[in-house]
Amino acid sequence: MTTPSSSPDPMRMTREQALSLTAEDRLIYFRDVRLKHPQISNVLEKLDLMTAPDTGTSIALLVGPTGVGKSTIVRNFEQQILRNHMKQMQADAGLIPVISVEAPATGERAFSWRTFYHRLGEALQEPMMTRKQETVYRDGRASIRPVMTGSTVAALQLAVESTLIHRQTKVIIVDEAVHLLRNLHGNTLENHLDALKYLSNKSGAKLVLVGSYDLHGLLDVSAQITRRCSIIHFQRYLPDKEADVLAFQKVLRKFAAHFPIEGAEDLPSVAQAKALQEACIGCVGILKETLVRALAIAMREGNRWRNGFLEPALLTPAQVRAIHREALEGEAKVDGTICGTGSFLAASRQVKENQIRAKGAA
């Protein structure tokens, strides 16, 4: 029995043990259950490949529909890197192989690099972020730019670069990276990407930008950026693919095995699974949120599961319509740009198309 304040650990607890917890703890228990389902393994492998040193990719874009589990995969990927570097970290107490930050949305008109660098500094455990001073080299003379209040953005940038180098950081994960694309004027996007590319080049760390399909817009900036970027698609489970339907059923069965309420053994019926896949647009994250809501309802209504609890927990038709439309549009947008979909035939076709277009223009 754990106290309500401490989070129950699903790794060390069976469903039967979880049944003896308080209602609040059972919700916490189920919320912390995370499945390494096939799509996650697939994306993790791609991420691992794209962030390996000397692959030529400096920025990896992880895109997917909302609720597919992008934030979960960020945590998984972070843990995977930490596990791979555990021995080195024990030998070198200064090493931080991976950091994960959320791109800030400060409500200002433009993207706040100051807040972003502050967050990177926090993730790197960098002290004295308000006392950073920029070194200026002018006419062969080095001097520092004295500041009275806070650090300038240039000083923060230098500090983050220096810390990334000294902490030997290999991967920087930026969640909600679409905030970079907000309120763009003129060539701001190009400047943003240049700054990110510079940070990656200077420190040798690979950047993983995580966000919705809007991130795909970064590829349209310039050929140079496109060459250095790779798109990794975190796809939902499609209802018209047999393998996806089966995988989604397995996911549901696995969740049911950890569903901490009596009578939940009936949960994964095939018919329900199919309907639930459509209602959740094939996204595991949405499925889990739905199940958490249903669990909360069930516990309030008598602590015993009935299939009727599932329906009030589902997304509304308007929500499903909006998410589904966005997912379809996004999937169409990234089609042909995802890493691993290249072929000689496709390349040759593209070259010919470009030649024809160039002749037509001439």
Binding site: H37, P38, M89, A93, I144, A159
Partner: protein, 458 residues
């Protein structure tokens, strides 16, 4: 890449404490340079590089991070914090060096930072005169460091008796040669081993080291000290050497060479019998140059003696072969040759230099100069004093002119010039000057305001 989802085993994954980030060092784990070589890095250089790695100035790092760990009850200012790491005893063998090395080691998780100071020699040699009072460097070593991308300051340069670089056989340099007009405001000074903190220019290639070649003795001494720094005495495992190693060595020398006669050994070493007795019985410790001289005289090395190598009756040394300290009269005559001409040249030098600087350049003391060349020394001193006064007046006038210009600008913009506003706008003038000259500044504000606005300031 997995294409069939059935192949993937679905498992529950959760936050595993074993996979979380273990506690990291508070400061970056910067590796000290030149470890195990005669070119071992000094703690001052390490501290400067550490501050640079965090993009802060050393005094901020000292005040915010190190000094609180040293157990100071009262919060001290940044200027006071500066006094620690810029002092000559920072790389010495005292408590300050030991404490700072320990705290920096804890903060960076780098072990054995005490070996970047002379702490390993503590208890073996005396501390007096060990540390160099001035910052010195070898331009060629720094040049090599810049080329390799890691310029750093060596512990060897911080030892007072070392005057030459054993690697390049050039004299160590202690002045960048930057004219006073090019000096940076202290607030803008950049502290790095290869940068002049006065003018901000690189110390590489500023002074031609071939102008002054060191003597064989200087190079030999530098080699011996360098070998000592590269020895296991300075390795992490042997940071506490044998305390009475030198006393034991002297006792063995008295027994084996002097056949029990300490006076003979005292004569060989050119010291008094009482002094030798103090060393032998641990009442006083010989200084580092003296310790090196003792061991060199008897064909051993200081590193070997401190490591505990037994004296094995090396070749008997004849007292005649020992280089005795020259007598004072001889010293005076030897140095007198050509000094007149050099002093006269210095008297005509522009800009004039002080008697202390003259003595330093001629390798003698000011007392000696005043005693031997009274008239010339007084003339040099008077000329330097007049020049210094003129410089001071010129500097004051120039600064007041800047104050006037800024006050005129502010008045033209309709802003009342005040001391506080001036302080915020002027970077190139120290605040202390504005404070000391506040009356003159106030007069300037009033005159400028009156002339432009046609009415008094208040």
């Amino acid at each position: 890449m997995n294409t069939s989802f059935d192949l993937v085993d679905q498992e529950v994954i959760a936050e595993d404490p074993q996979q979380r980030m273990p506690p990291r060092s508070a400061l970056v784990a910067l590796k000290p340079l030149g470890i195990g070589t005669p070119c071992r890095e000094s703690l001052t250089s390490y501290f400067q590089r550490l501050a640079d790695a965090h993009c802060v100035i050393p005094k901020v790092l000292a005040r915010e991070f190190v000094i609180p760990q040293l157990g100071f009850n009262n919060r001290i200012s940044e200027t006071q914090a500066d006094r620690f790491w810029r002092s000559s005893f920072f790389n010495g063998m005292g408590q300050v060096a030991q404490d700072w090395a320990r705290v920096l080691g804890d903060l960076t998780s780098i072990k054995g930072l005490a070996s970047l100071t002379l702490v390993p020699l503590r208890g073996s040699v005396g501390a007096q005169g060990t540390a160099s009072p001035k910052r010195r460097w070898c331009p060629l070593c720094l040049e090599e460091g810049v080329r390799a991308g890691t310029p750093y300051g060596q512990l060897l340069w911080e030892i007072g008796c070392v005057t030459a670089c054993p690697k390049h056989c050039v004299k160590l340099v202690d002045a960048c040669g930057c004219p006073s007009g090019e000096k940076l405001n202290y607030r803008k000074a950049k502290f790095l081993p290869h940068i002049c903190e006065s003018c901000g220019e690189s110390l590489v290639g500023r002074v031609d080291p071939e102008l002054e070649a060191p003597s064989q003795d200087e190079v030999g001494l530098a080699h011996l000290v360098g070998n000592l720094l590269a020895s296991p005495v300075f390795a992490g495992s042997l940071l506490e050497p044998k305390v009475n190693a030198l006393a034991e060595f002297l006792n063995e020398a008295v027994r084996d060479i002097g056949e029990g006669n300490a006076e003979c050994i005292a004569k060989i070493l050119n010291v008094s019998k009482g002094g030798l007795s103090d060393w032998r019985h641990g009442r006083h410790l010989p200084s580092l140059p003296q310790a090196i001289h003792i061991t060199r005289t008897f064909g051993a090395t200081l590193a070997g003696v401190l490591e505990g190598t037994k004296y094995e009756g090396v070749q008997r040394v004849s007292p005649k072969s020992i280089h005795f300290r020259p007598r004072r009269a001889y010293y005076r005559r030897a140095n007198a040759e050509g000094l007149d001409c050099r002093l006269e040249a210095i008297l005509r030098a522009n800009p004039p230099i002080s008697v202390a600087e003259t003595a330093r350049r001629l390798g003698t003391s000011t007392k000696e100069l005043y005693r031997l060349y009274k008239e010339l020394a007084y003339a040099i001193a008077a000329r330097a004093k007049v020049w210094k006064c003129e410089e001071s007046i010129n500097r004051r006038n120039a600064r007041l002119q800047i104050v006037r210009e800024i006050a005129e600008e502010m008045t033209a913009a309709g802003i009342i010039p005040t001391q506080k506003r001036l302080e915020d706008r002027i970077c190139e003038i120290p605040k202390t000057f504005l404070f000391q000259e506040r009356k003159a500044c106030q007069q300037i504000y009033e005159s400028v305001w009156g002339s432009v606005m046609g009415r008094p300031l208040h």
